[in-house]
């Protein structure tokens, strides 16, 4: 059952083709890795799928409906959420508050509700849910710390917690383990597996090959905005074209 389909997707910036005639089909329950050398178009792909950019050509189909012209908030409402390569947080807020704010889709309040304070019960429930997520990501002890004071690895974990707060069906992670030490990477790996076990499909862009090979059920390789090849992790590791594309860059760990 395909949860996401990308059909003949192209994205041009002026004369530059960041994505060119890309076809992808992601099935429910997958952990799909998107890899490729720098500049291959991975983050552009995420930006197009999540509504930050409109496709120049082609379409993005999520759960059977065309989402190509929707805005990021509309797409999030449908259950498709992404994290950012840059650390995107609500800096001035505490860890817990960051995740509580991200419960937005599951909180209802109008202006009169705000003035007369009628949504207290739902707010308490949302804060409880946010706390669950914060603890799930291993940030329980830091829940009252300001997001901007967290060390890098924890900030990235918070970014994932924020995305999870929306209760997505498809979660797109953009380089979730960048800048983490091996222990943090292992921890994140386990968490991502747990997230998938809860029934969330995962699309993962990563450079760290150990993480990619250890986590992904299937891998698509991009180069110069096009799909180079796809396959099981073992197949990709042995693929000559993929190794060549990476030559001069990172080696694929055995």
């Amino acid at each position: 059952m395909a949860i996401l389909e990308v059909k003949e997707l192209s994205k041009y910036f002026g004369g530059l083709a960041a994505l060119s005639d890309l076809d992808l089909t992601i099935d429910e329950g997958e952990i799909r890795g998107i890899i490729g050398p720098n500049g291959a178009g991975k983050t552009t792909l995420f930006n197009v799928i999540s509504g930050v950019y409109r496709p120049t050509k082609g379409s993005v189909i999520y759960q059977g409906s065309n989402i190509s012209s929707l805005s990021p908030d509309q797409i999030a409402e449908k259950g498709l959420v992404r994290t950012f390569q840059r650390t995107a947080l609500f800096h001035d807020f505490t860890v817990l508050k960051n995740v509580t704010i991200a419960r937005h889709l599951h909180a209802k309040e109008g202006v009169f509700g705000a003035i007369f304070g009628t949504a207290q019960q739902m707010e308490r429930e949302n804060e409880a849910k946010a706390l669950e997520l914060v603890e799930f990501m291993g940030l329980g002890g830091l829940k009252d710390e300001l997001a901007m004071n967290l060390p890098h690895g924890h900030q990235r974990a918070l970014g994932v917690a924020i995305a999870l707060a929306t209760e997505p069906k498809l979660l797109m992670l953009d380089e979730p383990v960048t800048g983490m030490n091996p222990t943090e990477k292992q921890h994140m790996l386990q968490l991502i597996k747990k997230v998938r076990d809860q029934g969330i499909t995962i699309l993962l862009v990563e450079h760290d090959m150990r993480t990619v090979m250890g986590l992904c059920t299937y891998i698509s390789v991009l180069d110069f905005g096009k799909k180079l090849t796809e396959g099981l992790p073992k197949e990709i590791q042995a693929n000559k074209a993929v190794i060549e594309a990476y030559l001069g860059g990172e080696e694929i760990a055995a």
Binding site: F90, T100, I101, A119
Partner: protein, 316 residues
């Protein structure tokens, strides 16, 4: 919050012991606080638009004209003035939805000028460059004459506190959280499902309404309206209040109005160089205290705690 009670009591006693002039100035303070707080809401959720002062004017003209030409009582004209200002503000935002960067600021200034030009060009009904006079004051209700300065003072104070309360409740609510999220990182806010354009429109609607009723309150005290009250100089004063006071929290603009208007009042002998003084203050604050006066408060509190030997916990 407990500090508020003596303040409110003080404000309630003030008009009975101070000169009439001080009471008039206090009323202006209340009106300016409404202006600055409403502008701050729009600034944090949307952008530093340059037409807010004109919404104040729309409220004033609407209230004044309805009262003068149709005899409508001020209790009705003032909210209608607010609604009118809100609608004009929303219309401007809708028009400029796709405008970004410098174009946005110029466009907001341009649209403000357009509205001012309409007031100046059309002697009927707007009175042209001399404005409108003989606008009715407040009526007599239950034996209290609201054209007198003391009753009107309490009226303005009441409306101000009500407006601040509404802004405060919104700030503390889920909507306020969404507003702050948009301020912190609009793209991230969108990604978690916050409909940024809608929230921006909401902020502008609320901010415009409060600016409009501030205009209505003004016009029924002055008995007249003059287009020069809503020009670019006045807009700059509004900017100064919000920047100097700070806009990170809800309290900043209130501090800004109090400090700058107090300075304004005490600088009367230096009338000529007042704009210079304001401009200089704005520049110095932007360079040395970009968070505004309110950003000094946590630091001052921390230092005071240290001096008293209280162990400083991590302050948020």
């Amino acid at each position: 919050m407990g500090a508020l009670a003596p303040l409110i009591i003080g404000l309630c006693i003030l008009p009975f012991f101070a000169r009439a002039y001080v009471v008039e100035v206090a009323m202006l303070f209340f009106i300016y606080i409404m202006l600055a707080s409403s502008y701050r809401l729009i600034v944090t959720v949307h952008d530093w638009q340059l037409y807010h002062i004109v919404l104040y004017g729309v409220g004033a003209y609407t209230s004044g004209l309805l009262a003068k030409n149709f005899g409508i009582p001020i209790w009705v004209t003032i909210p209608i003035g607010g609604a009118m200002a809100s609608l004009v503000g929303m219309a401007i935002v809708r028009t400029l939805l796709r405008t970004k960067g410098w174009g946005f600021y110029i466009a907001t200034f341009g649209l403000a000028e357009l509205i001012r030009t309409i007031w100046l060009r059309f002697r009927t009904p707007f009175g042209g460059s001399t404005g409108i006079i003989n606008i009715p004051y407040g009526p007599v209700v239950a034996g209290i004459d609201f054209s007198e300065h003391i009753p009107y003072y309490f009226f303005v104070m009441g409306v101000m506190f009500a407006s601040i309360y509404v802004l405060y409740r919104i700030d503390r609510s889920r909507i306020g959280d969404s507003f702050k999220a948009i301020y912190a990182d609009p793209l991230l806010a969108e990604t978690v499902g916050i409909r940024v354009p809608r929230y921006r429109l909401l902020a502008c609607a609320i901010g415009g309404f409060i600016a409009g009723i501030a205009g209505g309150l003004l016009v029924h005290r002055l008995g007249a309206v003059d287009p020069r009250l809503f020009d670019i100089i006045a807009m700059i004063y509004l900017l100064v209040w919000v920047v100097v006071g700070g806009y990170r929290t809800f309290w900043g603009p209130i501090i800004g109005v109090c400090v700058m208007q107090a300075a304004f009042e005490f600088s009367r002998p230096l009338m000529q160089i007042r704009p210079l003084f304001f401009g200089l203050t704005l520049a110095l604050v932007l360079v040395f205290m970009p968070g505004g006066i309110e950003s000094l408060i946590p630091k001052a509190v921390a230092r005071w705690r240290r001096l008293r030997g209280v162990p400083t916990a991590a302050t948020g």
